[in-house]
Subunit: 486 residues, 2 copies
């Protein structure tokens, strides 16, 4: 094999697509060479970060009263056919299990779940009886499967992806909406506060709602190539579902009614795509301290004479860091020092601790801060406290930087030409629009076709429109956001 | 609906089958009413305990150098057909994905993984090049799918189950065997030390090995109905697999060779079956402190007058317990006190803290220890320390009790009649046998047919046989263990 280049050096802003493909390969995040198209093997360096993301999400959801379930990965065809909009939306994308063993046909074929409403609601109809059972708040961590016909991209769009889905039932539409608000708050607590990813929640237009939903709110962020990436979404499901599945409750007055339901779906593998793309730079990954598979790496610098002493001191530091629950390793490979530096920078480890004869003498280690590219000397004794406090600062730094870049790319425009230009420049454009519901609206169709862009929706807290619709010039009735999407 | 009986009262030893079905229903561990035969919905009370089990296993495996992966749930038919013994063993049990959307046939059908050797090895052949890459130790947490034709039982045998599978490659057979020994040690650290479940590792006879394995070691425990339950197993895989998949490495001298591989498969859902069956009693579940979904429940005892005071004090205790990372809730339902007591006893919560006017005055709470059925008074201040230390003692208690019961049921017998009688009494019987390999042995076949029992194998560290084979009366060459299985 040809020797691999030591440095990672790709222009993230200039050619994001190349940067993205290369970092996935070089940092060993996912391997695309698995024998089935659209399915990838997730490797340890991404799995560890995604497991952390799962931990944050599950902890928060449990605190907010959601209980964990594990549902079967297969859904019988009859469940799947119960709600007509849902079938229409998902049917083309379903993988079907039809046989067993040497080709015996199943009596009824089973869908690999593309989403699990039709599995959860079947059980809700058994479990929910009275207003006392409500709210009924559940979730599961699971993979879902969609036979995507669009081009797949690892972590962004693949035929199997990793998510959490919450499914919840309420005694009123009002309480369902409150849940959607709570979901948006949860998204902020995790994505923005823990993962440093900025986003805006939009109420999606009619044609872009979850199949079967009455209202869809979805978080959008911007990728370095100026394309909008959809992150978690939360949906107020119409009562059509609970009517189809007979999910009913008896209220305090003894009256029977159908439940109102919601679902929320943070896709952990797609959130990971945002983490690496938004924070990374031309030298590779930069993981927020919270989810870094390794938070600090120790590089011992030694020769034959002082090897023992340096390694002993390195181990002592590792022990102190681990006691403080900091994920740490010592790099003991036979690479050169330079190779080690480049390697861990590329892998996005937040802190590198260099330790040699000089450092031991001074009782101070050299610490390299990946996010700022700066070196500093810190007392070896108590270095774990330094790393923890710098870890918090690092997340602050990444968050501020990402928010600033994101906000700079949200611009206003009042003509179709200006919108077009801004969208081409990779911006999300805010503009006036002639309709609120947008259903069957010619102007919307014109925008999406002419610009090769999509209407992301209106903000959750509605903005007051000024001026006219950029297409038909009628008085604007809503403020919409437009962007390029994957 | 008829009012549910307040007390749980089933004779675990007298009719284990009834006890098992009832506790799964009443404690809401799993719901069998999902629309597909052999698949169940796992409910929060079991999921929380199984997630804890996953945590213990993953933490330990990572410490021992296994890296986490997420492989696709589907395996292409061509991978699956590569190793002939493996195909023969698993083919009858495979679920096949053959279609997408409205019935479009896939070019190649895909198996829902029944186990993942043929997925992992495809990638090993790409990733492993040199002795420097070895040992290559991996794992994934995953569900696997088997079209069981035997009767299914929740948690014990179902068509979808939850496990961890490790897949590992080595430079020598010797190192592969060392891995198997490490796996047995891991099993002890988790099953015995954390979950209080006793077991013996047996080397399985030829006909009971994992399809494709050269040697299989499997842990057996005993269920209350006298049936042997197989727990984690570890396998030395023959080089047939690495030859089929071209998993090769270049050794230090530059010579190419095929890797030796092993796999280890602790089934978390089946381990859960052992936890509830071995520790439970006629009043319901008893969770080891380590995996209890709730470790302590607080029951406030109040009337209209002192309600506020009692609830305030209850919340203070809850806070202290939660700070100490003890999983705790206050029961605020409108059940009677008696109902609450019975309910949480049935649910297996290790400690119940009763708190009323009297307790507040005395500054001591009443604590009920589920495993001993005893009450004690403990100072409210510092009660979290009491719970933590009693938690450790509770696990000791459960472990000793389970080990004692297990060991009493392992007996020796030197004639076919005595073996038969002991097996009928639900024991594991140790006896002499005429062969070591047992392959194609008539005596083995006779035992399995005549007794409706199975030969579990020989111990990992071989025992010296005395006497004769119980069937053919030839000189015994090995010591085997026989028991009834599911």
């Amino acid at each position: 094999m040809a020797k691999e280049k030591v440095t990672f050096d790709f222009d993230k802003k200039g050619d994001f697509s190349e940067w993205y493909s290369e970092i996935i390969k070089r940092a060993e995040l996912g391997d695309l060479r698995y024998n089935i198209k659209g399915f990838i093997v997730f490797q340890p360096w991404s799995v560890l970060a995604m497991e952390k993301t799962y931990d944050f999400l599950e902890e928060t959801l449990q605190l907010k009263g959601h209980k964990p379930y594990w549902y079967p990965v297969v859904i019988p065809e009859k469940n799947f056919l119960m709600e007509k909009n849902h079938v229409k939306g998902f049917a083309p994308e379903v993988f079907w299990v039809t046989e067993t063993g040497a080709g015996e046909k199943l009596e009824e074929k089973m869908a690999l779940r593309p989403t699990s409403e039709t599995a959860f609601y079947q059980m809700f109809s058994i479990w929910i009886r009275s207003y006392k059972d409500l709210p009924f708040k559940t979730y599961q961590r699971a993979q879902v499967f969609r036979y995507e016909t669009k081009a797949t991209r690892p972590f962004i769009r693949s035929r199997e992806f990793y998510w959490i889905e919450t499914h919840n039932a309420f005694d009123s539409k009002e309480n369902a909406f409150k849940q959607a608000e709570e979901d948006m708050q949860t998204t902020k607590e995790i994505l923005l506060d823990k993962l440093c990813i900025p986003f805006i929640f939009f109420e999606r237009p009619e044609w872009d709602k979850f199949p079967g939903a009455e209202t869809t709110f979805a978080a959008d962020t911007l990728m370095p190539d100026g394309k909008v990436l959809q992150l978690p979404s939360t949906h107020i499901i119409s009562q059509n579902f609970t009517k189809a599945f007979e999910v009913k409750f008896v209220d305090e007055k003894g009256k029977e009614n159908y439940c109102w339901t919601t679902c929320y779906g943070p896709a952990v593998s797609r959130i990971f795509a945002a983490i690496i793309s938004i924070h990374g730079d031309n030298k590779g990954l930069i993981f927020p301290f919270s989810v870094a598979p390794l938070q600090a790496v120790i590089i011992p610098i030694y020769n034959e004479k002082n090897k023992e002493k340096v390694l002993k001191e390195s181990k002592k530091i590792q022990e102190e860091l681990r006691k403080a629950k900091i994920r740490t390793e010592i790099d003991l490979t036979d690479k050169t020092m330079g190779e080690k530096f480049y390697y861990w920078e590329m892998k996005g480890v937040p802190f590198r601790i260099e330790l040699g004869e000089k450092e031991i003498k001074e009782k101070k280690a050299t610490v390299f801060l990946r996010h700022e590219g700066k070196k500093t000397k810190e007392k070896i004794s108590g270095i774990e406290k330094f790393i923890l406090s710098e870890g918090t600062k690092q997340m602050d730094y990444l968050k501020k930087k990402a928010v600033k870049e994101f906000e700079e790319k949200i611009v206003e425009a009042d003509s179709i030409e200006k919108v077009k230009k801004a969208v081409e420049e990779g911006k999300i454009v805010k503009t006036g629009f002639c309709s609120v519901s947008m259903q069957g609206n010619d102007c919307a169709e014109k925008i999406e076709k002419e610009m090769n862009a999509s209407i992301r929706g209106t903000k959750f807290i509605k903005e007051k429109p000024a001026g006219n619709c950029i297409v038909c010039k009628k008085k604007a009735e809503s403020v919409v956001y437009i962007g390029k999407s994957y």
